[in-house]
Amino acid sequence: MQSWRRIRSLWLALSASWLLLVLLGGFSLLRLALPPRPRPGAPQGWPRWLDAELLQSFSQAGELPEDAASPQAPHGGSCDWGACFDTSKCRGDGLKVFVYPASGPISETHHRILASIEGSRFHTFSPAGACLLLLLSLDAQTGECSSMPLQWNRGRNHLVLRLHPAPCPKTFQLGQAMVAEASPTVDSFRPGFDVALPFLPEAHPLRGGAPGQLQQHSPQPGIALLALEEERGGWRTADTGSSACPWDARCEQDPGPGQTQRRETLPNATFCLISGHRPEAASRFLQALQAGCIPVLLSPRWELPFSEVIDWTKAAVVADERLPLQVLAALQEMSPARVLALRQQTQFLWDAYFSSVEKVIHTTLEVIQDRIFGTSAHPSLLWNSPPGALLALSTFSTSPQDFPFYHLQQGSRPEGRFSALIWVGPPGQPPLKLIQAVAGSQHCAQILVLWSNERPLPSSWPETAMPLTVIDGHRKVSDRFFPYSTIRTDAVLSLDARSSLSTSEVDFAFVVWQSFPERMVGFLTSSHFWDEAHGGWGYTAERTNEFSMVLTTAAFYHRYYHTLFTHSLPKALRTLADEAPTCVDVLMNFLVAAVTKLPPIKVPYGKQRQEAAPLASGGPGPRSKPQAPAPDCVNQIAAAFGHMPLLSSRLRLDPVLFKDPVSVQRKKYRSLEKP
C-alpha cells in the first residue's frame, strides 16, 4: 500500500515534470531531436561548406610576374580620350579653341555662334596655338556642309559641333575627331570622348534665353500628375486615377471623361512622360526642363545631354518602358521631398546649361576643358548645384568651400575676417579717416590700397595695427575687381577713398555678410526700372522703397566675384566699364545677380542724411561728370547679358534692436543710431 502510494506520488511528480517539460522544452527538444533539415519556405541559402577554410584563393601569388607583359595598350576599333586626344598641346593656358572660319556665305545664327565663341575666354586666333580645333557644322537649312579643313590631321584634337541633327552627308571621314551632336544614340556615342548636346529648336535664343517657368518650389495643389506628349507638338495632361496605362495607345481608345485636357505648348504637370525616339523625344525633354516638369524618360535610346558631367538622376526619372504600371506606381508614391528636389533641379539645369545656344556651347567647351584639367576639373558638386559650372570657375579653386555657394552642403562657414580694398582715384587724397575706421573693426584682416591716379604714391601711410598693402593700379576702373593674389580672405570690403563709414557700420555689415556670403551687402543703393517712355531700362539712385543694386564704393562681397568679373565677363563689357566708370557698379551688380538670382542686401547707413552726396554721386569717376552714362549703360549691359538679371528687394537688414525704445546701453551697434 505504502509502495503504491509512493508509486502514485512518484507518478504524479513524474507527470507534472512531463507536463512542465512539454510546456517549456518540448518544442526545443523536438527541434533538437529532428535532423537539421531546412524548414520548408525558409531560404535555403548557399551552403556553409565544411571545408571552406581549405578552399584555394582565386589568384595565387605566383601569378604576379606572369602578369607583366608588353606595354602595348589594349586597343579597340574606335577612339577614346586617351588614344585620340593629344593633351600636350593644351599645357599652360588650358583649353584654347580655334574655330574654322566659314567658307562662303553663312547664316545669321552661324555668324552669331562664331561671335559668341570668339568672345569667350577659350578663343584663340591661331590654329597653331590652339589645343582644340572646332568645326561648326550647323547650317542645316542651307544644306551646305563644311569641306575638309586645312589643319585636319586625321581629325586629331578636333571637335565637330553639330547643333542640329540635320544629317549632313559625310563629305570626309571624321577620323579621330570628337563629335558633339544633339542627342546621339547610345550605340554610336563614345562615352568620355564624344559630347552629347541637347536637341535645340531652331528658334532657340542665342544668349540669355527664357528663364525657367517654375514659379514656385512645390507643385500647385491639384496640378496633374502626368503630362503626355501630343503628336502635333503639344502636351496634354493625363488622368492617372482611372486608367491603368494612361500612355498606352490601346487604352486611349476609350478616353474617359476629363482624360484629355487642352493642349499646351509647355506642359503643366508634375511629371512629363517622354517616350519614343529622338529627335522628337529629345526636344520634348528640353521643353519639360524649361517648364519645371520632371521628365520621365522611358528607355531612352539616346544619350542625355552632357551626361558626362550632369547627374540626371537628380532631375529626371529614367524608367523601363516595359514596366509601365510600376513606373506609374512609383510616380504616384514618390515622396514630396524627392518631387520637390527633382522639380527644382530641372529649373537649375535649364537656367545653367540649356536656356541659350551660348550656354550650350560654353558648356561643351567646359566639359572638354574638364577632361584636360584632370584633377583640377570641376568637382561634381559644382556641376550639379546652383549656380552651375559655367559660373563656378574651376580655375579659382577645386575646393567647394572656397566658393561662396556651397557652405551648406559642405558644412563649412565663410571665414570670420575680411580685407578692405580701398580704391584711390583722382584727386588722390590718401583716405586716412577711412583707414582708421576700417582698421578699427575687429573683423578686419588687412587693408589694401589700390592707387589708381596720376599722383605719385605717398611715401607715408597712417600707423595702424592692420597690415596695409599698397597696389599701384593701371588707372583702369575695372582694376577694382581684379583678383589680386594679396587678397587672402573670403570677404572683400570694397571702398572708394571718398566713402565714409563708421567702424560699427563695417562690423554690422560684415556680420550680415557672413549669413549671406554669396550676395553683396552694401550701404547705398540704386534701382533699375522699365522706362515705358523710352522703351528701355532706366536707372535711378533716388531713395525709393525698393532697390536692386548696391554701390560697390562701399560693399561687402566674396572675393570669388573678382575672379568671375575678370575671367568670365566678355571683354567688351569690361571695356565698357573702363570707358564709362559709373557702369562698373552696374556691371558688378548684374554679374552677382546673374549668379545668385537674388537681390543684394542693404544694411543701415548712418550718414545718409548728411553726406549722402559724395557716395551716391556714383562710382569712382572724376567729380566733374557725375553719373551721366548710367541709364544707357544699364541697357548696354542688359543687352550683353541677354536678359535682365537684376531683382528688387524691399527690405533692409537692421540690428535686432535698431531704434527700438530700449536703453541704448543694451544695444550692440548703438553708434549706428546716432543722428
Binding site: L10, G45, F58, L323, T375, L408, Q410, N545, V662, Y669
Partner: protein
C-alpha cells in the same frame, strides 16, 4: 551530461523496493525527464544559440561531395558576348516584375562539379573568394531560393580567374544551366580576365547576353550601363590590418611598389626617382631574401627592405600601373593605406565607375605622360590631396575591403538600374560619413522669389476665444496678399459659431474641425492650403497691423526657405548649468521666431507632421507646449539657415502662452521652454538653431523721409 549520469547512478537508491521491470521503466522515464529539463534549462540560458545560427537552415557538406555533371564534348556553346547589349535590349525586366520593396531577387545555382567526357574536371570547383561572394549574396536581402521568382541568376561556376578555366568547357557548363536562355539575366563575376599573350580585357568565355561584373574592363569591352566594373580583390585586405592614418603630408611624395613591372615602365619610374631624389621611392621585389614564403609581403629598394603594404602608408601618392591586365589588386591595397592612387592604365574602366566619382579619390595619368607625373601631382593643392586621401580610404572601407562589399555594391548598381526611382544618390555613394553628417541639403535650394500674386494662407489655431478670433480674422483680412483664411477649431466639446456669425471677409474662410485638441494640428498640411506661403497666427494676435503683415509676406518671398516671424527669441548656453537656456529678453541676437505669428513654406507643415525626428511631435502634443520651438528646430535643421525676424519689437501680450490658458509668462514657463530646447537638441543630436544679429525692416524704415511716400508706413507703432 555529467549531471544526468550522476542521477542515473543514484536512481536505484531512491526507489529501492520496485520490480526490476518497473524500476528500469521509471529510471528511464526519470532520466528522460531530467534530460529534458536540463535541455530546457540550456535553452532558457542560451536562447539565441539556436536562432542565430544558420546551421539549422544550411547544410554542412564538403565541397568534394557535390554532384558531378558530365559535359558531352558536343554540348552547345553560347554565342560570344554581344557588345551592343543594353539593359533595355538584353535584360528581361519582366522577371523583376512589380516589387514593392524595389529590390531585385537573386538566385544562386547549386554547386556542381563539371567534368568532360573523360572525367577530367573543367575547372577548380570553387575558389575561396567565390564561395565568400556567393555566401554574401545568399545572406543578403537580395537572395531568393525560388528560381521562379528570381530576377537575376548567379551561376555557381567560378570564373573569377580565367587562368584556371578551360574556356570552351566552362561555356558549355554555363549553357546547360536550367534557366540559361542565352544568358539573359545571368550575372558572372570575373576579376582576372584574359590570358596570354594578348590578355583580353573581358572574360573570354562565350557568355552571350550574360552581364559581366569584370575586374579589368577597357573602354573597348565595357558595355556602358550593362556590365559592371568591379575591383580586383586583394587578399591582403583580409590579412593585414592597416589602421586608418589621418590625411596630411607623408614621408614619401610618390611611391611605386608593384613588382613585375615592364622594364620600360620601371626605367621611367627610376628616372623620376633620380630626378626628384628622396621624395620618390621605387620598390621592387626582394632578391636577396632567403625565405621565399614571405616575399609577397616585402619590397626592396637596393638593399633596404620594406614591409608591404605598410610602406604604402608612408606615401602621399601611390602608382598603380597596369600590367598585362588593366585591373590591379594593388589598387585595393593603396586605397586601404589612404594613399592617393595614381592610375596609369589607358582606357581602363575604374571599379564601380558608374557610381563612384574617382576624380575625388585618384589621379589618372595617361601612359604617355608618365614622365610628367611628378609635376602633375605637385600642382594639386594640399587641401585637395587631403580630401583625396580621406576619400581613398572611404572607398576602400565601403566598396573594396571584402568580397562581400564588392558583391553587394555590384548588386546595388544593377538594382539601381532596374528601379531607378529608388536609386541611391551620388552623395550616398560618394560622400564619406563625416561629410554626410556635416552637410545640409536645403529642400528649397532653388533661388526663387515667388510671385506676389500667389498670396498666402492664414491659419488661425483657436480653441474657444471666439471674440478675439473674430478680431484677428477681421484684422488679417485687411492684408492685401491674403488669399485664404483657415480656422483650425481645436475644441471638440464645442461647435464653432454658426456661419452667419463669422465676420464677412473678402477671401474664402474655411473652418477645419480637429479630432483631438493637439498643438500639432496647427502644422498639419491641410489640403485647403493652396498657397506656398502660410501665415500661422494665434487667435489673440491682434496687435499686428496690416502693413506689418503685408511686409512680413514680402520678406518671406525673399526668404521662402526660412521662418519669417515677428517676436524673436534666443537660445543661450548656460555655463553654470551646462545646458541650453531659453531667452526672451531684449537681446541683440535672434535664433527663433514664435509661430504665434510667422510666415513659412507649407512644405514645412509636411515635414513637421510626417518627418519630425524622434518622439518630438508626440512629446509636444503631450506637454501642450513648445510646438513653435520644435518648428524652429526642424526648419533650421533641414535648411541650415537662420530665421528672419521682421520689424521692431512690439508689446505682445504674452505671446508664448497663448496655447495654454491661464499660464503666465513666469519662471516656470521659462524653465519649461528651456527644457524643450534641451530635449530637442538631444533628439536632433545637435543644436541646429543659428544665431543672427539682424532683423528685416522696410528699406526706408525710420529714415528721414516723408512717411506718405513709404510703402509700409504703419510699422513699429506700439
Amino acid at each position: 551530461m555529467c549531471a544526468s549520469v550522476k542521477y542515473n547512478i543514484r536512481g536505484p537508491a531512491l526507489i529501492p523496493r520496485m520490480k526490476t521491470k518497473h524500476r528500469i521503466y521509471y529510471i528511464t522515464l526519470f532520466s528522460i525527464v531530467l534530460l529534458g529539463l536540463i535541455a530546457t534549462g540550456m535553452f532558457q540560458f542560451w536562447p539565441h544559440s539556436i536562432e542565430s545560427s544558420n546551421d539549422w537552415n544550411v547544410e554542412k557538406r564538403s565541397v568534394r561531395d557535390v554532384p558531378v555533371v558530365r559535359l558531352p564534348a558536343d554540348s552547345p556553346i553560347p554565342e560570344r558576348g554581344d557588345l551592343s547589349c543594353r539593359m533595355h535590349t538584353c535584360f528581361d525586366v519582366y522577371r523583376c516584375g512589380f516589387n514593392p520593396k524595389n529590390k531585385i531577387k537573386v538566385y544562386i545555382y547549386a554547386l556542381k562539379k563539371y567534368v568532360d567526357d573523360f572525367g577530367v574536371p573543367v575547372s577548380n570547383t570553387i575558389s575561396r573568394e567565390y564561395n565568400e561572394l556567393l555566401t554574401a549574396i545568399s545572406d543578403s536581402d537580395y537572395y531568393t531560393d525560388d528560381i521562379n521568382r528570381a530576377c537575376l541568376f548567379v551561376p555557381s561556376i567560378d570564373v573569377l580567374n580565367q587562368n584556371t578555366l578551360r574556356i570552351k568547357e566552362t561555356a558549355q557548363a554555363l549553357a546547360q544551366l536550367s534557366r540559361w536562355d542565352r544568358g539573359t539575366n545571368h550575372l558572372l563575376f570575373n576579376m582576372l580576365p584574359g590570358g596570354p599573350p594578348d590578355y583580353n580585357t573581358a572574360l573570354d568565355v562565350p557568355r552571350d547576353r550574360a552581364l559581366l561584373a569584370g575586374g579589368g574592363f577597357s573602354t573597348w569591352t565595357y558595355r556602358q550601363g550593362y556590365d559592371v566594373s568591379i575591383p580586383v580583390y586583394s587578399p591582403l585586405s583580409a590579412e593585414v590590418d592597416l589602421p586608418e592614418k589621418g590625411p596630411g603630408p607623408r614621408r614619401y611624395f610618390l611611391i611605386s611598389s608593384q613588382v613585375g613591372l615592364h622594364p620600360e615602365y620601371r626605367e621611367d619610374l627610376e628616372a623620376l626617382q633620380v630626378k626628384h631624389g628622396e621624395s620618390v621611392l621605387v620598390l621592387d621585389k626582394c632578391t636577396n631574401l632567403s625565405e621565399g614564403g614571405l616575399s609577397i609581403r616585402k619590397r626592396c629598394h637596393k638593399h633596404q627592405v620594406f614591409d608591404y603594404p605598410q610602406v604604402l602608408q608612408e606615401a602621399t601618392f601611390c602608382v598603380v600601373l597596369r600590367g598585362a591586365r588593366l585591373g590591379q589588386a594593388i589598387l585595393s591595397d593603396v586605397l586601404q593605406a589612404g594613399c592617393v592612387p595614381v592610375v596609369i592604365a589607358d582606357s581602363y574602366i575604374l571599379p564601380f565607375s558608374e557610381v563612384l566619382d574617382w576624380k575625388r579619390a585618384s589621379v589618372v595619368v595617361p601612359e604617355e605622360k608618365m614622365s610628367d607625373m611628378y609635376s602633375i601631382l605637385q600642382s594639386i593643392p594640399q587641401r585637395q590631396i587631403e580630401e583625396m586621401q580621406r576619400q581613398a580610404r572611404w572607398f576602400w572601407e565601403a566598396y573594396f575591403q571584402s568580397i562581400k562589399a564588392i558583391a553587394l555594391a555590384t548588386l546595388q548598381i544593377i538594382n539601381d538600374r532596374i528601379y531607378p526611382y529608388a536609386a541611391i544618390s551620388y552623395e550616398e555613394w560618394n560622400d564619406p560619413p563625416a561629410v554626410k553628417w556635416g552637410s545640409v541639403s536645403n529642400p528649397l535650394f532653388l533661388p526663387l522669389i515667388p510671385p506676389q500674386s500667389q498670396g498666402f494662407t492664414a491659419i488661425v489655431l483657436t480653441y474657444d476665444r471666439v471674440e478675439s478670433l473674430f478680431r484677428v480674422i477681421t484684422e488679417v483680412s485687411k492684408v492685401p496678399s491674403l488669399s485664404k483664411l483657415l480656422v483650425v477649431w481645436n475644441n471638440q466639446n464645442k461647435n464653432p459659431p454658426e456661419d452667419s456669425l463669422w465676420p464677412k471677409i473678402r477671401v474664402p474662410l474655411k473652418v477645419v474641425r480637429t479630432a483631438e485638441n493637439k498643438l500639432s494640428n496647427r502644422f498639419f498640411p491641410y489640403d485647403e492650403i493652396e498657397t506656398e506661403a502660410v501665415l500661422a497666427i494665434d487667435d489673440d494676435i491682434i496687435m499686428l497691423t496690416s502693413d506689418e503683415l503685408q511686409f512680413g509676406y514680402e520678406v518671406w518671398r525673399e526668404f521662402p526657405d526660412r521662418l519669417v516671424g515677428y517676436p524673436g527669441r534666443l537660445h543661450l548656453w548656460d555655463h553654470e548649468m551646462n545646458k541650453w537656456k531659453y531667452e526672451s529678453e531684449w537681446t541683440n541676437e535672434v535664433s527663433m521666431v514664435l509661430t504665434g505669428a510667422a510666415f513659412y513654406h507649407k512644405y514645412f507643415n509636411y515635414l513637421y507632421t510626417y518627418k519630425m525626428p524622434g518622439d518630438i511631435k508626440n512629446w509636444v502634443d503631450a506637454h501642450m507646449n513648445c510646438e513653435d520651438i520644435a518648428m524652429n528646430f526642424l526648419v533650421a535643421n533641414v535648411t541650415g539657415k537662420a530665421v528672419i525676424k521682421v520689424t521692431p519689437r512690439k508689446k505682445f501680450k504674452c505671446p508664448e502662452c497663448t496655447a495654454i490658458d491661464g499660464l503666465s509668462l513666469d519662471q516656470t514657463h521659462m524653465v519649461e521652454r528651456s527644457e524643450c530646447i534641451n530635449k530637442f537638441a538631444s533628439v536632433f543630436g545637435t543644436m541646429p538653431l543659428k544665431v543672427v544679429e539682424h532683423r528685416a525692416d522696410p528699406v526706408l524704415y525710420k529714415d528721414d523721409f516723408p512717411e506718405k511716400l513709404k510703402s509700409f508706413p504703419n510699422i513699429g507703432s506700439l
